[in-house]
Homo-oligomer: 207 residues x 2
């Protein structure tokens, strides 16, 4: 399902709200107010109400939103109501961090294949997944994998992206701090941790 | 310098534009159009023009923005015109990735101290920095460090954050996938890589 009218910036915030809702569900909380969600994420309650209004979720005044219903709605909007398989390319330090990361399961992600080009790594296992030779990336074609995670050095990133696109990957999470060119049908999100750090000094007084 | 009227979302995008401008500077490009920046980052040119207008940067029609002047302006707004020192707590796989990350220098960041609680790591060096015992975190007080990076397991994150705040750290980049409570004067940005992955399926058609 896709609601085309939802602005990108609301789409950007929805996984954040979903995380809060899922945590509340774990605690068997049945309703949540926009104020509670707002406090949790440090945004304004009106922002949350506005974001939710795009897909017709209106809380009951004095009661709030129904946690379970709202999380189901958000999952459907984000296309997270079905599970997704991902392939990881790059089994270095960063790859190991990604594989050990506990957060993916929360959203229904499973990394089912790992590739590297280092002969010393190929055949070994991390987190119970055998590392395969990246030259055999076509192995993933049979596996219904739709997401790719790139954790290779910058100079190899574009080539890996090209190969992933050839294999039918539709979305890429790119950890190499560089721009990747892909056909328009493929969505890339690049994570640049330095850029996140660069957002901090604005908020802190000069010493 | 701080321009209080710039909305958070524009502040969020400024480091991205700055990255584009710095890359253009490297190539000795003197002017850049909002269209060029937009193509680079996949946003709309009007978004860029709007974001820049908050601080009075108006391009010349047909010519664009002066790259050097604009990048200096953005650095001042983001408080990146001075260099910042950062302390890293956690020297595991993730810590090693962070220390090896080439992107920090671009924005004027330097990680000058690394701490861990693992006796086997304390005293060793990564990227030429000696890992120190986290119980001696007060060592940073003399070093004019204003930013902290948390790369420890989730259950230790809050305690590390409390210690960093005690030591006068004003901004924290948190890689532990959990909420951290700090006094209002301290700004925290939490990076959750699963959340970034969770933004992808919205953009890809269901198979």
């Amino acid at each position: 399902m896709r609601y085309r009218k939802i602005p990108d910036e609301a789409v950007w915030r929805l996984p954040m709200y979903l995380r809060g809702l899922l945590l509340s569900l774990e605690k068997s909380q049945e309703t949540i107010s926009s104020q509670e969600l707002a406090d949790f994420f440090g945004v304004h309650p009106w922002q949350i109400r506005k974001d939710f209004s795009y897909f017709g979720a209106f809380g009951t005044p004095g009661v709030g939103y129904k946690v379970k219903k709202l999380s189901t709605q958000i999952k459907k909007i984000l296309n997270l109501h079905v599970s997704h398989k991902a392939v990881l390319v790059g089994a270095g330090n960063l790859g190991a961090v990604i594989l050990a990361y506990p957060g993916f399961k929360i959203y229904g992600f499973e990394i089912t294949a790992v590739f590297d080009n280092n002969p010393q790594k190929i055949g070994q296992k991390i987190e119970n997944i055998s590392i395969k030779d990246v030259s055999k990336l076509s192995l993933i074609k049979r596996q219904k994998i739709d997401l790719g995670i790139i954790a290779v050095p910058r100079k190899a990133a574009q080539e890996v992206a090209d190969r992933l696109v050839e294999m039918g990957i539709k979305g890429i999470l790119n950890f190499s701090p560089c721009r990747i060119n892909v056909p328009k049908k493929v969505k890339v999100i690049t994570i640049d941790i330095a850029m996140d750090l660069a957002r901090l000094p604005y908020y802190i007084p000069s010493s």
